[in-house]
Symmetry: C2
Subunit: 429 residues, 2 copies
Amino acid sequence: MRTRPLKVALLGCGVVGSEVARIMTTHADDLTARIGAPVELAGVAVRRPDRVREGIDPALVTTDATALVKRGDIDVVVEVIGGIEPARTLITTAFEHGASVVSANKALLAQDGAALHAAAQEHDKDLYYEAAVAGAIPLIRPLRESLAGDKINRVMGIVNGTTNFILDKMDSTGAGYQEALDEATALGYAEADPTADVEGFDAAAKAAILAGIAFHTRVRLDDVYREGMTEVTAADFASAKEMGCTIKLLAICERAEDGGSVTARVHPAMIPLSHPLASVRGAYNAVFVESDAAGQLMFYGPGAGGSPTASAVLGDLVAVCRNRIGGATGPGESAYAALPVSPMGDVVTRYHISLDVADKPGVLAQVATVFAEHGVSIDTVRQQGKDGEASLVVVTHRASDAALTGTVEALRKLDTVRGVASIMRVEGE
Amino acid sequence: MRTRPLKVALLGCGVVGSEVARIMTTHADDLTARIGAPVELAGVAVRRPDRVREGIDPALVTTDATALVKRGDIDVVVEVIGGIEPARTLITTAFEHGASVVSANKALLAQDGAALHAAAQEHDKDLYYEAAVAGAIPLIRPLRESLAGDKINRVMGIVNGTTNFILDKMDSTGAGYQEALDEATALGYAEADPTADVEGFDAAAKAAILAGIAFHTRVRLDDVYREGMTEVTAADFASAKEMGCTIKLLAICERAEDGGSVTARVHPAMIPLSHPLASVRGAYNAVFVESDAAGQLMFYGPGAGGSPTASAVLGDLVAVCRNRIGGATGPGESAYAALPVSPMGDVVTRYHISLDVADKPGVLAQVATVFAEHGVSIDTVRQQGKDGEASLVVVTHRASDAALTGTVEALRKLDTVRGVASIMRVEGE
């Protein structure tokens, strides 16, 4: 057992950071035993130094994060500030000054993961970030280590707890989007400005990270198609129920069938109630992984919150400390496959389309012709008449997003089509 | 990139071994990229050398496993023979001759894990065994690495696919045990001699391994309480349904509430339909983990089969090869907590008890008195009369196994109790 402690600098002391500090104190003996050396909180960089932080020695608190990471005696920097800057500069500075880094920063990793990995490698240091995706759920490590001998074909998950809470509420109570969002806000599941969650930005960052790891390919945030869930209606849930489905906001990373390219996307989708992801309730997250040899795996747990995220950070901290004592580094970026990331138009899936149409003979024939002309094969059609108007619900076979988009554009031009009420992808079948 | 290949000796070439060899060939380029060096199959030890093995160079095949592991140029020995001997001696010989080991051998690890870990450590080599528990599901690595900074309080899982298939069949069709077993056998889910599965030996070995890792404590196979599922009846499933439950064969590893001891057990139990484990169908496995900081996690996937198990073996192979190139070793045994393993009598849970009783006044009072005398508090009682006989279904609050056993012994002595039809633990509430 080495007795000189490993020194940890904590950047950020909010919900996650304070929990990391707390566990480092309360579980100090366990951490020492598991790492093989004591770990010592050597400094805590915060923005507001006057705020009382229970259990943290005020002498450790500083507002000068840069000076902290430059001290030179820091073994591991734990970055839980979030956002792009100053986090990015602090992390690269940490590598330059000899520290390894544990980060929970999904936005930064999705945007600049390649550069950060390169900086880590240049200085022969570790960059771990289990907490960046799906909170406490062990996911990064299983994907990049447990499945390192397998070929992953699809990663499909509920990676945002706020939106899952809202959609689950809409599903179980029949509430509309706004009502469910209000409840999520009141209960603290949604932030005052919920844009990052409900518009899918948060999930898209996680999709970029997951796709990169799963396919050994750099996938940037800009490569991820993103569609929020603010336009999902109670009527969509009713349609989903008729199909034996529910609606989830999914992050989907797929290898094309020919294996030559990958896609990553975030959007609401219908999934069958029999799919394991359908029964993920409340603010929980779950990620479904399909690979050649392992088959179908699912990882489920709390996707956010101070304690769960701190659990993931501390797991990484133990690993990084162990590596440091052993003079080794863990797996770095693996982007050797360098597969092209295809645009959304190339994604192939099924669609559920609700049309408002004129209630007169020949409409179905017209609509069906448009689908056929665009090479989109229809699986089922359901017609419902109401006072001279009618609704037409079309469920397609698998077709490319480009073909579906062309179909919908053409449908909108038909006189007999009054409107396209909704288009929803159908996944997980 | 290092160009000298890492040499792998494969011990055993059955369902799993042949799949490991196949993937090593078909995915050679990917493995090279992920490891940072080529891996080469240097020898395959088998019992029957004359059997045709597609894709394996006959020149590599040998019946002399000992000579193979003693060659001295082997980097990693992959042991997929199973059983105690010769696997144990081959693994320790491998360490002595400079190789690290990847094993899928749950029986051996449950029985001699401590000695094998000690041998690995003595020679500064790795011993990895993700495939030993729950097939392809990444579980060992998440428990011993991802959750290394957390405190695990409970691991509860369906870790045997054969018995889950049988119980799922009984649940969904109303079939009896024998009928469901016959179907499992016909479909290849159960072996000709299903004892290891249906009597819980297989699950008990996995429970020992999981408890050891989760609690940083040596838990031997003998420490695991074991009860098979051959006596679960259609009537039990009917009772479970009335309670909003189903029945699963569970492996449960728990830290006592005071934290001072642990228990490990395998037995059939009722769990609420709302529990994530209740919806694990067919031969799938799933393990539910509860920890202080992370909260509730679940890992789900195929628990057996050649390809899934090979996926887990290859993930370990990549990790061990990477460690070897980096001159490091991964986490070894962590048994520092050395908590006492309490006997089954100390386990505290709830119970569902069906009694056949005389249908006359005062029986319930007598029965209730016996429960009270043993300190077992009753939650609900349901009485059903039929032709001078009656059944009494008692569901208790939490009580120790010892108290429940004492209660049942006393009940059997009552004149008015004709028989104890079933006793089933109730978990996951």
